[in-house]
């Protein structure tokens, strides 16, 4: 029991969960979306500052959530800063596959270092109801990029 749980709640996750990075609003943001997980009632807001070349210059989040959703959001903000929007979307797809498939294929051109860092969240595969917790921030980021201000993982 402890082994599986430690696989899910790795130290990196517990650390990000307790001390989320880039937590709070973002000055000069130009994209925002609110993500909602109706199962637990948790809400995340993701702020993005995207420049004219479609590069993410800044990203932050705020809200309440479980260790998994907060850690995932925190890690996402660290990974996305400085990346073109298109690359962020590729990462999202790859991350989503990683959370839901046993042997996912990495899409071509995806940032492999980033995927390696995100690997700590892949433990949710064994906890299907928690996949939404891990992907909520990414869904919200995607909605913000596309100008949808509210999304739900339902």
């Amino acid at each position: 029991m402890m082994d599986e749980l430690r696989e899910l709640y790795q130290d990196v996750i517990l650390d990000h969960g307790k001390k989320p990075r880039n937590f709070g609003g973002l000055e000069g943001y130009n994209h925002l979306a609110q993500g909602h997980n109706p199962m637990c009632g948790d809400t995340l807001v993701v702020y993005l500052k995207v420049d004219d070349d479609n590069v993410i210059q800044g990203v932050s989040f705020k809200g309440k959530g479980c260790a998994i959703s907060v850690a995932s959001a925190s890690m996402m903000t660290e990974i996305l800063k400085g990346k073109p929007v298109a690359e962020a979307e590729t990462l999202f797809n790859a991350f989503h596959d990683m959370c839901t498939q046993d042997d996912p294929q990495l899409p071509e051109g995806v940032d492999e270092d980033a995927m390696e860092r995100l690997q700590v969240l892949s433990g949710v595969r064994e906890f299907p109801v928690r996949v939404k917790c891990a992907t909520l921030a990414w869904h919200t980021m995607e909605a913000a990029v596309h100008g949808n201000e509210e999304i739900s993982t339902e």
């Binding site: 029991m1 749980l5 637990c40 998994i68 917790c133």
Partner: protein, 436 residues
């Protein structure tokens, strides 16, 4: 056909008195529930999850089904099932007898004055929607108020909001105290000449608080206002007498009282039901139909449009009989002991806070932990074989009142044991270990 109903009769209907030999001892003996015998009736409870015995502590969400319920439903489908109320053939008659027999069982179970006051619905949600839609649209006028409390389940909030938006009525909300209780005066003082309906829970699904329904009902009746009671969290756990309670409408679900899903009950006072227009139109609820107009049956069938949940109603009747046979006073005493034990064990855990400490409380323990979010707690105790609920319990306004987005909720039922409380408490130690 009497042999067909045998399966629905509890096999140890008088087990609680079997051990008594002197009438003087009977009462105390009747107040002891033989939990092991109860558990033997529930096939689902005897299994392991992740190598641990299942501890099912999510009864406020839904309860498990005892063999007599499963048997009654199986028997219906295997031996006499057909559509009800219209067939000249034998099976239809037998089916109708059992379906209407279930109505009688339910009427007895809640001490309804008349069997035709029991309307089968899909569940408590539909029962409340039926009252809001039928009674509400016929009798509530723009500007009138529906009075609820701050601890209502969404099913006793949203139907009234829909009606508000259609009719221009107002929703008034009586406050809940810090400890989760509702003071009768807090509700009563909001009753005024515009109040058209009082709709309250008997027991809070999120905190377990028991509401002073009778006092509130007396005050409402003094002003001629009907009272709807959402009895979902009371009916499986204590003896409910709709007349003694002072309700005018009483709503509950089958699946929370060890019966099947897809069936519930609206009990309503006959004189009110006969004045109410139909809720849904269709077959079963009419006396005659032409393209110009149709005429409708009275209660209960006038409120049961379409083919009803026949098998499920029969299962609900079996559940009522099964519960009745266990002496609901003994059930309530057993669950109260579990509540006390759980409160004691959980209170001793550092960083754990119990929400809802009302003096009069059902066996529901809602809590948060400083170390971890409710959802993480839910996942961790699940791996210890413990099924609990983590979330807002369909009572978001109540959660908001306490500044919470979610809690962990352990809710007990007739088959739970102190060992299962221990199993939960031990699993919560793992949360502390992991999250520190």
């Amino acid at each position: 056909m009497s042999d067909m109903t045998d399966a629905a009769v509890p096999r140890h209907a008088d087990s609680n008195v079997a051990a008594t030999d002197a009438s003087g001892h009977q009462r105390s003996a009747r107040n002891t529930l033989d939990v092991e015998r109860v558990r033997a009736d529930f096939p689902i409870l005897h299994q392991e999850l992740y190598g641990k015995p299942l501890a099912y502590l999510d009864n406020a969400a839904s309860s498990q089904k005892p063999r007599p319920v499963i048997a009654a439903m199986t028997e219906a489908m295997e031996t006499y099932y057909a559509n009800v109320h219209r067939g000249v053939h034998r099976l239809s008659q037998v089916s109708t007898d059992h379906y209407e027999g279930a109505r009688e069982k339910v009427a007895r179970f809640i001490n309804a004055p008349r069997t035709d006051e029991v309307i089968f619905t899909r569940g408590a949600t539909e029962a409340i929607n039926l009252v809001a839609s039928s009674y509400g649209r016929a009798f509530l006028k723009p500007g009138q108020e529906v009075l609820i409390t701050a601890l209502e389940h969404h099913s006793n909030i949203v139907p009234w909001q829909l009606l508000r938006d259609q009719l221009g009525i107002t929703l008034r909300v009586a406050p809940v105290e810090e400890d989760g209780s509702v003071r009768p005066e807090a509700v009563i003082q909001l009753i005024n000449e515009n109040t058209g309906m009082v709709a309250i829970s008997q027991v809070s699904n999120a905190l377990g608080s028991v509401l002073p329904v009778r006092q509130i009902a007396d005050a409402a009746h003094a002003s001629g206002i009907p009272v709807l009671v959402d009895g979902c969290q009371a009916i499986p756990h204590q003896k409910v007498d709709v007349q003694a309670l002072g309700a005018d409408f009483y709503a509950f679900s089958g699946h929370k009282m060890y019966g099947p899903t897809g069936i519930g009950v609206l009990w309503g006072r006959h004189d009110l039901l006969t004045q109410m227009p139909p809720y849904q139109g269709g077959g079963e609820m009419i006396t005659s139909v032409s393209f110009e107009e149709s005429t409708f049956k009275g209660p209960p069938h006038g409120f049961e449009a379409g083919t009803p949940a026949i098998v499920e109603a029969i299962g609900l009747g079996a559940a009522a009989d099964w519960l009745e046979a266990h002496d609901l006073e003994a059930v309530a005493a057993h669950e109260h002991r579990l509540l006390e034990y759980a409160t004691e064990r959980l209170s001793a855990i550092e960083g754990l806070r119990i929400w809802g400490r009302a003096e009069n409380k059902a066996a529901i323990v809602s809590f948060t932990m400083d170390q971890a979010h409710a959802h993480d707690v839910g996942t961790i105790v699940d791996r210890a074989g413990v099924a609990i609920r983590a979330g807002h319990h369909c009572a978001q306004p109540l959660m908001e009142r306490y500044g919470l987005s979610s809690t962990v909720r352990a809710s007990f039922g007739i088959y739970n044991t102190e060992q299962e409380v221990d199993q939960l408490a031990d699993a919560l130690q793992v949360v502390k270990e992991l999250f520190g």
